[in-house]
Symmetry: C2
Subunit: 348 residues, 2 copies
């Protein structure tokens, strides 16, 4: 199946819990979210992850697949993944592999998950130090989005989700960007109508691109805006000092700024965009600078998407609603993009 049934509604998780529980051969979640599961889902067999990116691993995938096998889940079985991007990325990958593919439902409980990670069927784990090196395209049958659950999200995680909101709004156009930039973290925590409308708009933008291009060879690539840079920040931070750790959304925030700096050099670019983006990210407590230096980031980016002579494919948005994909951006221009977030420059 390549299309998911997506619903966005405050209170939806409680309303759908019994139905999801009936289908679930196994519920995948993490220790934080497990405490918040509706009773019907909490009673089903479950596999509980340690929260955090470290669970998005090859070894954890093996444990989950063994649990599906030991639980006697057959080809008609169904997995319900309730949690953030780590839970839905891992759960979707296990669902695509167990008995060569079972159906699954995604119940994203983070803002990143609701506007991005749980949509579109990209699944993955990290292997060999890279981000999402191993994965599949396996769209969930259902995506159950309940903005009401965002109230329970730690503030840092909520704010990280704003980076994906801004990315999607930038792709969509000026109105979407205005609506997103007008929100405060409390709007999401309270699931105000304005916040729910922004989530719905992100779902619509992403779903339209995925429907055209599930396998990410054409228009869907727009959604990689900020991510080639972002994955490099994320991978190096994951390998480095835990005090400098970055959530996925935080890495994407840095990536968006790098891409914006690069795009500002394109003809017809909105020259105010980098400053406007920086302002919004700061207001949300998102990083706008990094201690990481250019060379290791460049090497990591090359590993993500290798191209002849060190040139890389990058997605650039010179103005809201206009996305350009450059197939061979030379290393020098990429270095210039990385300058946008160099700690010494940005914090001075």
């Amino acid at each position: 199946m390549s299309r998911s049934h997506v619903e966005v509604q405050t209170g939806l998780l409680a309303r759908r819990a019994a139905q999801l529980a009936t289908r679930a051969a196994l519920v995948l979640t993490d220790e934080n979210v497990a405490a918040l599961l509706p009773a019907a889902l909490a009673e089903r067999p479950r596999h509980v992850l340690v929260p955090g990116e470290a669970s998005k691993s090859w070894d954890e995938l093996g444990r989950l697949l063994r649990a599906l096998d030991a639980g006697g889940v057959d080809r008609d079985g169904h997995l319900v993944a309730v949690g953030g991007g780590v839970v839905t990325d891992l759960g979707g990958l296990a669902a695509s592999l167990h008995r060569r593919g079972i159906s699954w439902s995604a119940v994203p409980t983070s803002l990143v998950g609701q506007v991005d990670a749980a949509l579109g069927g990209k699944t993955a784990v990290n292997l060999g130090g890279g981000k999402n090196t191993v994965g599949s395209f396996h769209p969930p049958a259902d995506v159950v989005i309940d903005p009401g659950v965002l109230a329970t999200l730690p503030r840092r995680h909520l704010c990280a989700g704003m980076a994906e909101v801004l990315k999607t709004a930038l792709i969509s156009g000026p109105e979407a960007l205005d609506a997103a930039a007008a929100l405060e973290p409390d709007d999401f925590a309270a699931a105000t109508p304005a916040a729910v409308a922004v989530i719905e708009a992100c779902v619509a933008t992403k779903s339209a691109l995925v429907e055209q291009d599930l396998h990410d060879r054409g228009p869907r690539r727009a959604l990689n805006l900020g991510h080639t840079f972002g994955h490099a920040f994320e991978a190096l931070a994951l390998a480095g000092d835990p005090a400098d750790s970055l959530l996925h959304g935080e890495a994407v925030a840095l990536g968006l700024l790098c891409a914006a700096r690069l795009a500002a050099g394109l003809p017809d670019a909105d020259r105010e965009l980098p400053a406007r983006l920086t302002g919004t990210l700061r207001r949300w407590g998102l990083p706008t600078s990094s201690p990481l230096t250019a060379e290791p980031l460049l090497a990591e980016m090359g590993r993500d998407k290798k191209r002849a002579g060190g040139a890389l494919r990058l997605v650039l948005a010179p103005r809201p609603g206009r996305v350009e994909i450059e197939d061979a951006v030379p290393a020098d221009r990429i270095r210039a993009g990385l300058e946008a977030v160099r700690k010494s420059a940005s914090t001075s």
Copy 2:
């Protein structure tokens, strides 16, 4: 992609070697086949497996994915898998997962591979004691079938392939079964025109079913004939005394006999079929009896395809060319099928 370009021709591997080498970011093979690789392929980066079913494992899959990552193979990379079913099952699965899917070519060097395993895009490894518990549907771009390489195959492995030949011929019809049953092992080893024609017929039968039903929810299930029984023999043999080990094809031979015994009870069945099948299998040195007892086999089959009340879905061929899928065969009838190969009965 869901269709593969399949070619069958003696001498094809040597003729296609340079072209395959140009595309191959990595060549996957095993220690036996590595020695026989054409020079052009032998010069490419390669990952060499220990021959045998034990390499079709989760851990080996992880090592192969790490090798693809370490080799900088990107989304446009291509894997060439040269070997038997273990090599193509594992290689296809790695290709489906690396960077969420790269293209691959299958070069089956075993008879099982040429008539069955390398066709149709079913990939898998074994996990948690079961057969093919983890896998995907990821058809190779090309399947390069060179019957000339069968000359190098150990006789036991060559003969094991006959079980899949007979399975496919049984599904196809009386003429196909007659043509297959008329062959001797030396026909395959010498790639006689009759043997090549049987390989081509198997490719045509399987390709037609796969084209109708890649995901094995409908007509393709006919190809599971003998395999629900067979996987149970194979899994228990794998876990047991190495002296009693079974190749995949040998386990399928036992499975075909069990299924034939069950099918002989259907109205309109060809009552001579079980005896005829037994005769052909014996002539090929394939097992027609097993020391394994019914209860552990039943338990293993239940794990393979669990159904309400211990009943199982089975594929039965009451006569050549007629395949019936029974959705809930009760345990008692399955036990009766297993009687067909009980050592004490068959060897008396």
